[in-house]
Symmetry: C2
Subunit: 76 residues, 2 copies
């Protein structure tokens, strides 16, 4: 059983990594790029029977800083 | 128009961040976690008409180090 967690900075929180990527892309001639946001993706291999609730608890306690980051969980 | 790019270390490339997350989760009592891999997700706002080919070029040239990283693109 697998879970994929996306952790992104919340809207309104400055994202210097994303800004750096945007400027680099513009410098390389990719002018069609507007905003860029960069986040983390964490892929977890889970024992069968581990539910989304457990993954949510991992996010709240460790994987995301919920003051400035939001997360989403996909179970597969 | 939006694109989401996932960049992950290739299988077989050591992922110290993922290992650190795994050990932390075990230390917190989440014993049902097997492997953990951590990667990047980059969300791009694109002008209409910017195709997947352009995003692929951005990946090859800037967003991913294709020696050790693989990437996948979702257009939305």
């Amino acid at each position: 059983m697998k879970a994929r967690v996306h952790v992104m900075l919340k809207d309104g929180v400055l994202d210097p990594q994303g800004e750096a990527v945007k400027h680099a892309l513009h410098g390389m001639g990719f002018d069609g790029v507007g905003g860029v946001r960069q986040g983390k993706v964490i892929e977890l291999d889970l024992e069968d029977g581990t539910g989304e609730d457990a993954v949510r608890e991992m996010c709240e306690k460790l994987l995301a800083n919920t003051v400035i980051e939001s997360y989403s969980i996909e179970m597969a």
